[in-house]
Symmetry: C2
DNA sequence: CAGCAAATTGGTAGCGCTGCCAAAAAAACC
DNA sequence: GGTTTTTTTGGCAGCGCTACCAATTTGCTG
């Protein structure tokens, strides 16, 4: 298991230490081949090697072969750090996302990463835990890498974050929420519209005594927006929200189950419940299955996100499907194409399902 | 929406274009303050600014204040690209993961990213789609950023990948699988042991006619290992696998449901089914709920991963809980601490649940 | 074969920062 | 006060690459 590239005391070329010794060992970077070395090995100038490797500018086929042979022989891997420093623009794209537990964000990353990889961009990320202060700190740390773009969730940011991003001169993409002023590019849909349409759907179906089960809304502002416009719509149709149960912490299936249990204990005669998202709604659904509460005749359930799992439950979940992967894709495409500032509304789709 | 930092024809300081024009516009990077500018503004030398900002070396309190004031005034953000190039080691950690759809990998990233952020490291990632060739290409692209470490899933890699990683001199961490020779550091557990224990559990419970529903095993080698040692264990106890249904493509709840449906159509008298993971198992569980198949009396279900959702279903899912977040955390800690090469077995936990 | 345009090629000045070294200033000592 | 130590500072040479420009070679034309 011990590698020869490990040595103690900074002496290169020493025989490896005994495995299992508790001496603190220092790691030595192997000297990697440089452009200059490749140039010499190929018998051409540095700039020629650079042109060949980037396939940019002109060079003869013979030169190309010589260079590639030398690259192969030396196992040369270009240094993008140096390349980025020397050239004007970087090919890093920074993601500052609230969470990785909520599948929404991996989905966005997935869409974006495919597009970025095709275009030889590199994705970098960090996680804020829904904390605006942490978002600011992480955004600053990201800017230090001089990315081509910074992608953030939503359009609520601290003053410091906004100022910093504005001053940075790099592209800024705000994802998954269009209810606010975009700094530069915004890609997503309206959470307010989602809340509104959810309410309208339940009302149309004839439900009147409607409750809500949600997770911490102060942190997840997008869930908060959906909830408030949901309530407004209900109120506007003379069927104001009857009861709510808001659990601290992140959304999860278990919290959804617990939340519905509490909501039902607290209020009787509810005929429908709106959940802050599908994870929560599935928890509610499971609670009903376990308790023998008939869905949707006795109680209707409505979620948000349109997760795949909601299509495979015995009764497909009624929900709103959001274009998460597409959001990532479009956002990445706009960065790659250096598109002008704009807001792109991808909309969402209401899935009638069988639980409402 | 149009920003003044947009201009056409490369003329800085021009009035912004009309929004909606279809002229291709070019983005101009704003000149960002440099260390030298901060030094001049503070009336000190460049190296002094560098020392203050990194809090490294010695400087007086007065100097510190002057520098920080200048930094504040100019809105200076250090350039880590330049810093990394100039110094010896980078603080980038590269993740080359098979997928973002399978919650396993976001979980690992989550654990790692928390530790890395605390230590001012930056996570970079790309997604291979379980394709070894793509893994090689992406690993090469990653090495171009000269990361402090590369983290990969599993211990099966192409020859080219291995050679390249070995030659790179950067730390290599292989995650989530200990059944093989580690290149450098390995963190995870044994998938073979997981398969074995799953089989042993089902046998202990008295199930003898056991089937399997899985997803594409050629791509997900870890699932393949679990399956093969599961089968071996069954065979060793005179209860060889009765039937299997393997679906092409990635694991998903829908595929699990479909897979079980097909398996049951093909074989009768099964008393238990082992699934390639919890997503698939949940699909199977939903199929049983929908079809009125009593669990576990008529059919037992066993999964793999120990997802939270499996604890909230009407009957808790019988499965093996894997330390995904911890894998990421430990891996990151070892990189940060520059630990010597070793394999760290985090084990797993068998959850008896109520479906088997 | 001269004469000129086009295609290739090499040299070199940075990109913004860190690390080393020596100079300068401050503190401690005789 | 004169040294010796210690602390604080600035200068500058790269890190490995790209971008620009000038030099060289090649290909054609008349």
């Amino acid at each position: 298991m011990v590698k020869t590239r490990w040595s103690s005391g900074g002496q290169a070329g020493q025989p490896p230490q005994q495995s299992g010794s508790n001496v603190t060992m220092e790691f030595k970077h192997q000297p990697t081949a440089t452009l200059a070395e490749v140039a010499e090995a190929a018998g051409v100038g540095e700039s020629t090697v650079s042109r060949v490797l980037r396939n940019h500018g002109s060079f003869s086929g013979k030169t190309r072969e010589r260079v590639m042979a030398a690259v192969e022989r030396l196992g040369y891997v270009p240094n993008r750090i140096a390349g980025t420093l020397a050239s004007t623009g970087s090919r890093l794209v920074a993601f500052v996302i609230p969470s990785l537990s909520n599948i929404v964000f991996p989905d966005v990353l997935r869409g974006a990463s495919a597009v970025l990889e095709e275009n030889r961009y590199q994705a970098v990320f960090s996680v804020t835990d829904y904390d605006p202060g942490k978002e600011e700190a992480l955004a600053a740390a990201m800017l230090a890498w001089r990315p081509a773009a910074v992608m953030l969730a939503g359009c609520e940011h601290t003053e410091g974050t906004v100022k910093m991003l504005r001053a940075s001169g790099c592209r800024v993409v705000e994802l998954l929420d269009l209810d606010g002023d975009a700094l530069d590019i915004a890609v997503g849909f309206s959470n307010r519209a989602a809340g509104r349409e959810s309410a309208a759907f339940l009302l149309k179906r004839g439900y009147r005594r409607i409750g809500y089960v949600g997770h911490d809304l102060n942190r997840d502002t997008r869930a908060g927006k959906r909830f408030s416009s949901f309530c407004e719509t209900l109120a506007a149709h003379d069927a104001p929200l009857v009861a709510r149960e808001i659990l601290p912490g992140a959304s999860s299936v278990e919290n959804g189950r617990l939340g519905l249990e509490r909501l039902l204990a607290q209020t009787s005669d509810l005929d429908a419940v709106y959940f802050s998202n599908d994870d929560m709604a599935l928890g509610g659904y499971f609670h009903c299955l376990a308790e023998g509460i008939a869905i949707p005749s006795k109680l209707a359930i409505f979620g948000y996100n349109g997760l795949d799992i909601g299509r495979a439950t015995p009764q497909p979940l009624s929900t709103i499907r959001t274009p998460r992967v597409a959001t990532g894709q479009i956002a990445a495409q706009m960065v790659v194409a250096n598109a002008p500032p704009q807001a792109v509304d991808l909309g969402f789709e209401l899935i009638e399902g069988a639980t409402a």
